[in-house]
């Protein structure tokens, strides 16, 4: 057995020593007690003796180098050739050793991680594995099913190869970025599966594989929206940080409203943004009050053709004014003022009595009071179905899928009676489908 030659601890406040010079050369025969090298620690220089006889080999530290105390810097071997392997550092602190001691060797291969899929997600529930250790997989093959937020989805392998290791079990909640599987290029000799609770899985390393598939990018760590921690407490107390409470007070915001909409507690400062964006409380129907939702579907072609004609022939370019005019005509029951707001691409414009001036001539004005009706034109968005709930006034939402437009009317039960709601939506949908009817 070769003997390790280590940097000895000689001084009180010493954690390394400088090798002043080697007194033996690699391959030299040494006897026990021979001076091997000179070391400088603290303020003294001293010679370090060989602890056994043999040949000095595997010298890894040169004169002038500072070496941590306890590190192996050479060996005394039975032959002048030495062991052929560089000595391992003996200086690794025990805490490191502890982590490594029980580690199962990880197979070579690409790491598949728990992807960030939802908005407020920092972990995903592994629902089931679709492969077994040792299976051959293609990049598009489904590897596992994961449940995040409210959706369950299938995650593809991302790489061609073999399932070398499955590092989580169905039913386990895995942090985003956590490694759940390893896919090897070559058929693995000993594929295995284990629980994520095993301490020896490789750590989540965001920069692990630069060529990882898009879906397996780790989530950014910058202040993540927190996962839901607790629902509203039964005693009515709100869990909120002192700062969030103070700012809410200063800004006149009521934290109870966040509780009402089911926003997860505890509330922090960032949750105030969500609170501030809630519709004005005074015009909002009380929570739990009945709300109405009606849908109408119609071909998109009629209104599109009419818009093109109006724009080309009548020089009417404001589509919103046309929509506002249609809606006001359906809503009007008397001569009182009627304000209709149209929201497109996130900006809102209001039209005062848009059914009164000649078609499409109504002028835009700023939208700072609650209108009688709001039209939200989402025809150019990807949304096909909306269910937002009652707001501070009845809302008509336009969405489009391929060649058909869906018009959804949502309102509180106290805002429109059932008959009025049906009349409004029927009339509006009819005008959009056959705009010329409006002119008659």
């Amino acid at each position: 057995m070769p003997l390790d030659v280590i940097m000895p601890a000689l001084g009180m406040a010493q954690d390394s020593g400088v090798i002043v010079s080697w007194l033996k050369q690699p391959g030299d025969a040494v006897a026990e007690g021979d001076a091997l090298f000179e070391v400088e620690t603290d303020k003294a220089t001293m010679e370090v003796e060989a602890q056994g006889k043999g040949y000095l080999t595997d010298v890894t530290a040169a004169a002038g180098e500072s070496v941590p105390v306890g590190q192996v810097i050479a060996r005394i071997s039975d032959s002048a050739e030495g062991s052929g392997t560089a000595p391992a550092s003996a200086s690794a602190p025990a805490s490191d050793a502890k982590n490594k001691a029980s580690a199962k060797p990880m197979p070579e291969g690409r790491e598949v991680i728990m992807p960030a899929l939802g908005m407020a997600q920092d972990s995903g529930l592994l629902v089931s594995w679709q492969v077994a250790p040792g299976d051959k997989v293609g990049a598009e093959d489904v590897l596992f099913e994961v449940e995040t937020d409210k959706a369950a989805m299938e995650v593809p392998a991302g790489f061609d190869g073999y399932v070398a290791a499955l590092l989580a079990e169905a039913g386990e909640d895995i942090p985003v970025g956590g490694v759940v599987a390893i896919i090897s290029t070559d058929k693995p000799e000993a594929p295995f599966a284990q629980s994520a609770r095993s301490a020896d899985k490789p750590p989540a390393t965001p920069a692990a594989a630069p060529d990882q598939a898009e879906a397996t990018k780790p989530a950014p760590a910058k202040p993540k929206p927190e996962k839901p921690q607790s629902a509203a407490r039964s005693d009515g107390r709100i869990l909120a940080s002192p700062k969030a409470r103070r700012l809410a007070l200063e800004r006149g915001l009521d934290l109870h409203r966040l509780v009402e909409v089911g926003h997860p507690q505890p509330f922090h400062v960032r949750d105030l943004e969500a609170l501030a964006n809630l519709p004005d409380a005074t015009a909002t129907p009380a929570a739990g009050a009945a709300s109405r939702r009606l849908c109408a579907r119609l071909p998109a072609a009629g209104f599109e053709a009419f818009c093109a004609w109006a724009s080309g022939t009548l020089d009417i370019g404001d589509t919103n004014a046309l929509l506002a005019g249609f809606a006001a005509a359906c809503l009007r029951t008397d001569d009182s003022a009627l304000l209709v707001e149209v929201e497109t691409f996130g900006t809102a414009h209001a039209y005062q009595d848009p059914d009164r001036p000649w078609l499409g001539q109504a002028k835009r004005q700023s939208a700072d009071t609650t209108p009688a009706l709001r039209i939200r034109d989402l025809r150019h968005s990807a949304l096909s179905l909306v269910e937002i709930g009652a707001e501070d006034c009845p809302v008509l939402t336009l969405s489009q899928r391929k060649s058909s437009v869906t018009v959804t009317l949502e309102c509180g039960a106290d805002q429109l009676s059932a008959q009025d709601a049906i009349a409004l939506l029927t009339g509006f949908a009819g005008r959009m489908e056959q705009p010329l009817r409006h002119l008659l």
Binding site: A13, A97, L239, P266, V269
Partner: protein
């Protein structure tokens, strides 16, 4: 700028002050020819002689008592207490005598002395040579307590301590004696009660003392790579404490972790956390978290000892939780 070890910085500070003021002298076990086991004071006896660099018997209460009397009568002793753990031996002289003399005499007597000693675990020295006991003396009114975090602080704080007219206890981390830092050739002092903002940040304040400043900085590096901006503050003296700087920072970041190598319970971390709670409560967006040494006697085995003290990874993990709004120790 030149870089010197913390050990050398302490040595320079003492030598400069002994040259400047003939009433300054050193006493303690093996301070003369031996220059202490850590060699911090090596060479001083050659310059100042055995009359001013006095080797004492192993009688900690005795020589600390002598220092108190000498300080009351016109000299400025610097007492070397070989290990911080021995502070338990000198408690009467330090806390009943030195700390109270000025007050009990109605301001007529004063005790301008420095007790320099050390702290810090992970030197495999086990439970009676590894403790960080600064909180014990910080608890006693009348004593000032300095905790240098680098060679620069060690020199500037030591010089201030020697010139201070109160009993000052300086805790040097014994693992940092060989750590180098830039130290100007020119003379400088570091005033007591002025914290050093080592690094500015916006998301969380990491308050560290002594070697825990390095831990805080390493944690801040980890956090920076994740997009979390940490402010690192070194109070430098815990008595007096620069509350204002700490509170100002926490009002900005709204989160804080206090890191100190003393035992966590009833310690420096708790004290600072309590002050932040009292004086910055309405600016906190997360609980102020204490990270001290575990409440166990320091174990000998490296496998056990290393886990008793705060680490950069542990601090970063806690900071991450606080910044993400995760509930800490929720009931």
């Amino acid at each position: 700028m030149r870089e010197i070890t913390l050990s050398k910085a302490v040595n320079e500070a003492i030598a400069e002050e002994m040259r400047r003021d003939p009433t300054v002298f050193l006493m303690g076990e093996d301070v003369a020819e031996a220059g202490t086991p850590f060699k911090v004071l090596a060479g001083l006896v050659e310059e100042f002689g055995t009359e001013r660099v006095i080797d004492t018997p192993i009688s900690e209460p005795g020589f600390v008592g002598l220092a108190v009397g000498a300080a009351m009568t016109g000299t400025r002793p610097i007492v070397d207490l070989m290990f911080g753990d021995f502070i338990f031996l000198v408690m009467d002289q330090l806390c009943n005598q030195a700390a109270k003399t000025h007050y009990m005499s109605g301001g007529k007597l004063s005790v301008p002395m420095v007790l320099r000693t050390n702290m810090g675990a992970t030197r495999r020295s086990a439970a009676q040579h590894s403790q960080s006991l600064h909180a014990l003396v910080a608890h006693i009114p009348g004593l000032k307590v300095a905790m240098p975090s680098s060679a620069y602080e060690a020199k500037g704080l030591m010089k201030t301590a020697i010139r201070d007219n109160n009993p000052v206890v300086i805790f040097e981390d014994k693992l940092m004696y060989q750590d180098k830092a830039p130290v100007p050739e020119e003379e400088y002092l570091i005033p007591f009660g002025v914290a050093n903002v080592k690094r500015e940040g916006t998301d969380i304040t990491l308050i560290g003392t002594s070697s825990m400043v390095q831990v805080a900085e390493a944690a801040a590096d980890i956090l920076a790579s994740e997009g979390i901006s940490a402010e690192v503050i070194d109070p430098r003296t815990i008595v007096p404490l620069d509350e204002e700087t700490l509170i100002k920072s926490v009002k900005k970041t709204s989160r804080a972790i206090v890191i100190d190598e003393g035992h966590q319970s009833y310690g420096v971390t708790g004290e600072i956390a309590a002050r932040l709670n009292e004086k910055a409560f309405y600016h906190l967006d997360a609980p102020v978290v204490r990270m001290g040494a575990m409440d166990v006697p320091v174990p000998f085995s490296p496998a056990l000892e290393d886990i008793t003290v705060p680490t950069p990874e542990g601090v970063a993990a806690m900071a991450r939780k606080l910044c993400s709004g995760e509930m800490i120790h929720a009931a």
